[in-house]
Symmetry: C2
Subunit: 180 residues, 2 copies
């Protein structure tokens, strides 16, 4: 008697729970039966909503594609402000809200062993850097320089997710100074 549940379940529940597992154990940990156990459901449900395990992985990637791009740019823009304020807000997001041990890092770990994921990451990286570059140009930086520095800032952000380097307020202020 392993505790049933009253409500039924949709595709989205499976995807949501799968993403949680991706965070905790990596893509190798995203397996059907442990997932079913967490959701208090059996495999019967899974194979109703998905063709197979690969289909779930594809759905996870698709989910990420939708939320990845707008996550940064829109959240920074919708609060308005000067380009300088936006830049600071963007750095703030990178260092707290959006990412540090979340989907962002999990996806990049997955990308190392899946070409499709790597392609999605590449697309997101490209869009984000274009956005950052735009911010820097709005600060009066020459386009060719702005592009390079946008990449540098972005690299440092990504690097902070995968290193054990202490990154305090002083470090991010220094980066802001250097690139702008």
């Amino acid at each position: 008697m392993t505790a049933k549940r009253d409500t039924r379940i949709g595709r989205d529940e499976w995807i949501r729970e799968a993403l949680k597992l991706l965070l905790a154990e990596g893509i190798a940990g995203v397996r059907v039966e442990p997932l079913a156990l967490r959701l208090k459901v059996t495999k019967g449900s899974f194979y109703w909503h998905f063709k197979d395990r690969a289909a779930l992985h594809e759905a996870m990637l698709e989910h990420w594609r939708r939320i990845a791009t707008r996550a940064i740019a829109e959240r920074v823009d919708q609060a308005g402000g000067t380009p300088r304020e936006k830049l600071r807000r963007l750095i703030g997001f990178g260092t707290s809200g959006v990412a540090p041990g979340t989907l962002e890092t999990a996806m990049r770990g997955w990308a190392r062993h899946d070409a499709g994921v790597a392609a999605a990451i590449a697309a997101a990286d490209g869009e984000r850097i274009a956005y950052v570059s735009g911010l820097l140009r709005a600060l009066g930086i020459k386009p060719s320089v702005a592009d390079v520095r946008a990449r540098i800032l972005y690299l440092a952000l990504i690097g902070s997710y995968f290193s054990q380097v202490p990154t305090g307020r002083a470090l991010w202020r220094e980066i802001e100074t250097l690139v702008s």
Copy 2:
């Protein structure tokens, strides 16, 4: 008849091949029987050299601990030159020889799901940054600033391993300019 081998095998062979697999498939791919297949040997050999799978993983980590630290600093130092030349050489190593799709990234992926590995990474990061900081101080940069900029440079290097951002010669020259 799945092709035997004439020579025998030592612990090191297992570790070497395991590291290859770590690169290709991540730590989850480092399994005993597939490994034995690659080495054209049976599990019997493995369980002679190692207590269990975890023991192999520990040996892999230990191997990395030995080669990780001296990899950067020593290779940069032994060629001599001015601090400026050393800095350029270090950046060059980071972008070609030592890392891009090698152990460095694989270990960091592993670190996300193993506290022991994360600790080893943290130690290596600390030593390397101290070295870079020393280089910058030798260029006449004030110690407090040198430390922050060393971390920034290091973050960008690590970031380049995990992003799909195009990093050309111009980018690394710009970084060098910014931090020194």
